[in-house]
Symmetry: C2
Subunit: 201 residues, 2 copies
Amino acid sequence: MPRVAQYDRKAAIDAAIALFWRRGYYATSLKDIERELDMRPGSLYAAFGSKQGLFLEALDAYTAAMERDVEEHIGATGGVLPGVMAYLRWLLLGRDSDAGVTTPACMVVKTLLESTDDEDPLRGKATLLLRKVEQGFTDALEQAKAAGELRANVDCRRMARLLQTQVMGVRSFAQSGANEQQLQQLLDDIDSIFSPYRAVH
Amino acid sequence: MPRVAQYDRKAAIDAAIALFWRRGYYATSLKDIERELDMRPGSLYAAFGSKQGLFLEALDAYTAAMERDVEEHIGATGGVLPGVMAYLRWLLLGRDSDAGVTTPACMVVKTLLESTDDEDPLRGKATLLLRKVEQGFTDALEQAKAAGELRANVDCRRMARLLQTQVMGVRSFAQSGANEQQLQQLLDDIDSIFSPYRAVH
DNA sequence: TCCTAATTTGAATGATTGCTCAATAACGAG
DNA sequence: CTCGTTATTGAGCAATCATTCAAATTAGGA
C-alpha cells in the first residue's frame, strides 16, 4: 500500500455537519468547506464526490448522532416520553456556552425546508430520514405501551407523528430567539400535551 | 409626469412570493426572478433595490396575506381556536389542485431556518415577523378569554407561543409528504391539545 | 409636435460558483 | 534505496452569480 490518507474522515464529516447545520446547503460554498475541513478541492472530490455527496453523508451522520442522543436520554430517564422531553431540555436550555451544537433547529428539518422541489435529492433524503425517526419513535412507544407506560388504546404510530411534530415545532420556535423562561414554559406545556396518553397508576 | 411604470408592483410581489416561497432565498437566482416576474435587471433594481430588498418586501406581503387568511377563518368560525384550526385544515387538506399556495411549510419559518447567522438580515426580519404573529395570537386569545371562550386562568401570551409552535410544527411536518389521513389525524390531535384551555360550559 | 423626465432594456461587469486535472508529494513493499 | 501506487495540491476551468449603466423607449405636458 502506498501513501495513506492523512485526513480523518470522521473529523471531516463532523466539521461538515457543523458547517452545513449552521449555514444550510445552498449558502455554504466550497471555499467555506475547504477552510472548515482544511482540505483542498482535489481531496474533497476524491473523498466525497461532490458538495452534494458530502452534504448527504453529513446529514446521515447528523441524524445518527441525534438518534444516539435521544436514546441516551431515554435510557437515562427510563421512559420514552420523559426521555424525549429530557433530550429537548438538554438541547434547548442552558447550552449557550456549550460546544458542538450550533443551532436549536433540526438540520433535517432545515434541509427539508430549503429543498427546492420534489425532485431535489435533498428533499428525498430529508423525507427518508424523518420517516426513519418516526419509525424509531413508533417502536419506542410500542415498547413503552407494552411496559405499561402508555394507555392500552394509544395508536403509537399516530402518537409518534404528534411527538415528531412537537420536536420540529419547538426546535424551530427556539431558533426565533426565545429566552430561557419562554422555552421552559413551552416545554412544560408540551409535556402536558401527552398527559392523556400516559397510563394512570 | 413622463413615462409611467408598466409593471404591476402588486403582481410582481405576488410572483416573487410564489417563487421565493417555493425555492427559498439562496437557491433562487436573478435569472429565475427575471423570468417569473417578467422584468429585466434594470427595472428590478430600480423598483426593489436588490434581490434582498425584493425578498424582504415579498416576505412582508406574504405575512400580511397569511394574517388575512387566519383572520378570515377566525371570523368565519367565530372563535380563535376553531379559526386557527380551520385555517390549518384549509391550508393543508384537499388543496392538491389548488393554485396559489406553493408549499405547506411557512415561508417565514423557511426563511428563519435558512438564514445563516444572527447578523443575517433575513433572520432579523423573520424573527420580527414571528413576533408580530405571536402578538396577534396573544391579542386574539385575550379577546377570546374576555368573551368566555377560554378559562379565566389562561396565560394568553404563553398559550400563543404554544399555538405558534403547533402551526410551525404541522406545516413543517406536512412538507415531509404526509398523506391526507395522517394530516387529518394530526390536526385532530393538535385540536385536542387545547381542550384544557377551553372554557367549560 | 416637440420636449422632458422617468422606465426599460440588455450587454457587460468583476466576483464567485462548483469542479477538474496535471503536477507533486508521500508512503509501503521489495 | 527504488519503485509503484495513491493522496494532495492549487492553478485554472466554464458557468453562473448579483449588479451596473449607457442607450433606447415611452409616455404626459406644453
